[in-house]
Amino acid sequence: MRAFAWGMRSVTSTVLTFVLFATYIGIGALAHDTHFSLGWVLASTALVWAGPAQIILISTLGSGATIVQAAIAVTVSAIRLFPMVVSVLPMMRMPDTKRRHLVLATHFIAVTMWVECFRLLPQVPRERRIAFTHGLGIGLFSACLVATAIGYALAANLPQLFGAAILLLTPLAFLLSTAGNCRQLADILALVLGLALFPLVSMLHTGVDILISGVSAGTIAYGVHWLWERG
């Protein structure tokens, strides 16, 4: 229980909480402007729990796309969650940990949680890490639900410039927090190559551009790391 409270307190230790708060004000406002109900957008924050996916979902549905088109766009954007979960869960696991103990922690994993887990979990004793992650997740969750409701209520009064500023927060915060977490050569190369490859691959208009550029950039980065270790 102490580890849970520690995790919740850690929410205030990172500037990413404020970035996320502002982003969810933006998502609440976007949902209002595209005529979704407050309950719907709150449910989307709780169930989807991934900012870019919610922005894609709301804007594609709002622009009159079909469910299938929206689902495909969201599925592609959500692929990153798979390697994130695979890389972060081993930090929480004990030899006797069952998979079902990790289900809630897995649901909480999104970019901010992934970055913060890598930063904070090494300071937490291993047996308390799941409770800590639950605390951190619930803390961020509550903040984002409040922000979603605030954004929904304010929507009509927000100028376009504010919307642009909020949408710029996501790439800025993702870039800087990922750069801050780069420990190995492979991480740095993956970030740089991933940024450089996407604009090239996107010219092919495959529909899964992010997957192609991500897997190739990540694999090249790993290959260089592998050669470096052995050279």
Binding site: V15, V19, F36, S37, A43, S44, L47, V48, W49, P52, A53, Q54, L57, S59, L61, I67, A71, V74, T75, I79, L81, P83, V85, V86, S87, P90, V103, T106, H107, L161, G163, A164, L168, T170, P171, L172, A173, L175, L176, T178, G180, C182, A186, D187, A190, L191, G194, L197, F198, P199, I210, L211, S213, G214, V215, S216, G218, T219, A221, Y222
Partner: protein, 114 residues
């Protein structure tokens, strides 16, 4: 209750097009990644791929911006992120300084453009 959530169709759409696509990837990660050892080389590769996919998401938002961000010209979006990154490096990795600096450059640019 139905006023709060809107019609049930909308909630069904949320489950099918929002919740399932995200949760499926997470649970697949839990299921397949459950037995990977923390110090294994495989994880270095998986983390590199996660980082590179995230970099792709960042690049996508900048190259093909959603909503109101499209009203900011491309050179200004790139300049704002570059300025944010420079501030981040100069302040010995302060995310706060980097985010504030990037936002200020974007707002100043928009003000200057009129």
């Amino acid at each position: 209750m139905s006023d709060f959530f809107g019609d049930w169709n909308a909630l069904l759409v949320l489950l099918l097009a929002g919740f399932l696509p995200n949760e499926a990837w997470r649970m697949l990660g839990l299921w397949l990644g459950g037995g990977v050892d923390e110090s294994s080389e495989l994880l270095v590769w998986v983390r590199a791929v996660a980082t590179a996919i995230l970099a792709g998401v960042i690049a996508q938002i900048l190259v093909a911006p959603p909503g109101a961000l499209a009203s900011v010209p491309g050179w200004l979006r790139y300049a704002a992120v570059a300025a944010g990154f420079a501030a981040f490096i100069l302040t010995r990795r302060s995310i706060f300084a980097g985010v504030i600096c990037g936002e200020l450059v974007m707002l100043a640019g928009k003000w200057w453009l009129g």
